[in-house]
């Protein structure tokens, strides 16, 4: 039986312009996250995927709702929770005053690794991610694919239990995407829980144990890729996706899964 890792309960997020609600980005999202699974978050632009993962990473607070970890709110154990989460954002937010290698070591030390441990972990990850030739380079000197590899490596420096990847393969060549797929698959093999947002349906289908479709701030469907195709009698995930995005009256998933 799969062990529950996180419970997301009725999360809403409003963006304000002064006191006026500018946008209701999330309108009551509830879902469970199991240990060691890869959950693919799908949705069109502006669906609320990035908002949800930034709340999961504790970067932004929800407007209402709760996230439970080990039965208690993550906001009551914020620092311990943060120490087991690795967040790879969409935008490469990397310190330009340091080389990629130094960035990795600094990040590791900020998460409690000693200098020696951080150096060893850096070497280990540089090998796994083929970053060795670029450790002394600045972020501006490497290609988009290596930036993404670096961001994932940085998120893994402190050996997190939950890794959040926000569109890690967007804008990359197909062969680099496939290399990153291997990286993400290896995280699953290590028993790390992964939340992956993506626009690519093939990527979501290949990598995810379960797929969660978010549309207009709500969870529309959540299930394994095989079950989704079977239940909706579609040949591909793309057809399932289009059915739910195009049909505003399609059933909205509202319970825990």
């Amino acid at each position: 039986m799969k062990k529950l890792f996180l419970q997301i309960k009725h999360i809403t997020k409003n963006y304000y312009d002064g006191r006026r609600v500018l946008k209701k980005a999330l309108q009551g999202i509830s879902l469970d996250l199991y240990q060691g699974e890869v959950l693919g978050l799908l949705g069109v632009n502006g669906a609320g995927k990035t908002t949800l993962v930034s709340i999961l990473a504790t970067l932004h607070p929800p407007t209402t709702g709760e996230i439970l970890w080990n039965g208690a709110s993550i906001y009551d154990a914020l620092l311990p929770f943060r120490s087991v989460v690795g967040y790879c954002p969409q935008h490469p937010n990397i310190e330009k005053d340091f080389s990629l290698g130094e960035n990795l070591v600094i990040s590791g030390q900020c998460y409690g690794l000693s200098k020696k441990e951080a150096e060893e972990r850096k070497k280990e990850l540089a090998k796994d991610f083929n970053l060795e030739p670029y450790l002394d380079a600045n972020i501006d000197q490497v290609s988009g694919g290596y930036k993404q590899r670096f961001l994932i490596a940085r998120a893994l420096m402190h050996r997190p239990h939950l890794v959040i990847l926000d569109e890690p393969t967007v804008g990359l060549d197909s062969h680099i995407r496939r290399e990153l797929w291997d990286v993400i698959s290896s995280l699953r093999k290590q028993g790390i829980t992964v939340v992956l947002t993506t626009h690519y349906l093939d990527e979501a289908e290949k990598l995810s144990d379960r797929i969660c479709l978010i549309h207009e701030g709500l969870v529309r469907i959540i299930d394994t890729p095989e079950n989704l195709k079977k239940q909706h009698q579609k040949n591909s995930l793309e057809e399932v996706f289009l059915k739910f995005v195009d049909d505003p009256n399609a059933e909205i998933f509202s319970g825990e899964a």
């Binding site: 607070p61 914020l78 620092l79 943060r82 954002p89 005053d97 340091f98 030390q109 998460y111 940085r154």
Partner: protein, 258 residues
Amino acid sequence: MNGWPVFFQLIRKDLTVFKRSFWKKFFDTSILFITNVLAFGYFLQQEGAHEGYAAFFVIGAIASFGFIEIVGKVGIQLADMGGDRTIFHTLVMPIRSRMVFYYMGISWAMTSILMSILLFPLGKLLVFTEWNLAGISWWRLMVMFVTANLFFGYFALWLTGILKNMTDLNQLWLRYIAPMWMFGGYVYSWQSAYALSPIVGYISLINPMIYVMEGMRAAALGQAGYLPFWVSILMLWIFIFACSLHASRRLRQKLDCI
């Protein structure tokens, strides 16, 4: 678990960056310092400024030049918030957001201290005979120097919180910093302002820069002729608390963080 290990790592990181560019920045600051001291300290005496004015001016310059380094940090931070957002990586680390903002203020103050501390020997060299070191209360000077730079650090943090973007920063120099500096006793004492008009003197007391200048001069040149040293210290700490609390609130709103 608390956020202190992250806090100290972040300060260490900033000091490493500062160390790498220190001499270049110090060279640039020195040019501004030397030209100011020569122009105001020496040429102004030819125009009738009192004897000892060079030493008076040097202390004011040493007190305030670290602020130039710090205001530069405001620009860098605003650019980051509107662009790369490296601060978001810090804000998901195991540290409370308010501690991240307090670390920024302290880190900026430390770079300001390191930048301006070398201006002491340089200032002494420039006004060699006019500045009598025997008159310095070293421990008062140290307390005031640290307090003044902490104020600069948290004042800059407050500016980061209230300014929307880089365009606002350009206006800030002309509209606020320059008047604050020039009417903050950079080239005259509070007593001179009061002698000109008591109203001007009292209005000057709402400018925190006056306490930086007066406090430093009281410690370095003797208490006579300046605002009471401990009043300057007290007022600066009030400004430090006010700036840090309001900055933390505004930055949490601005960055929408926990």
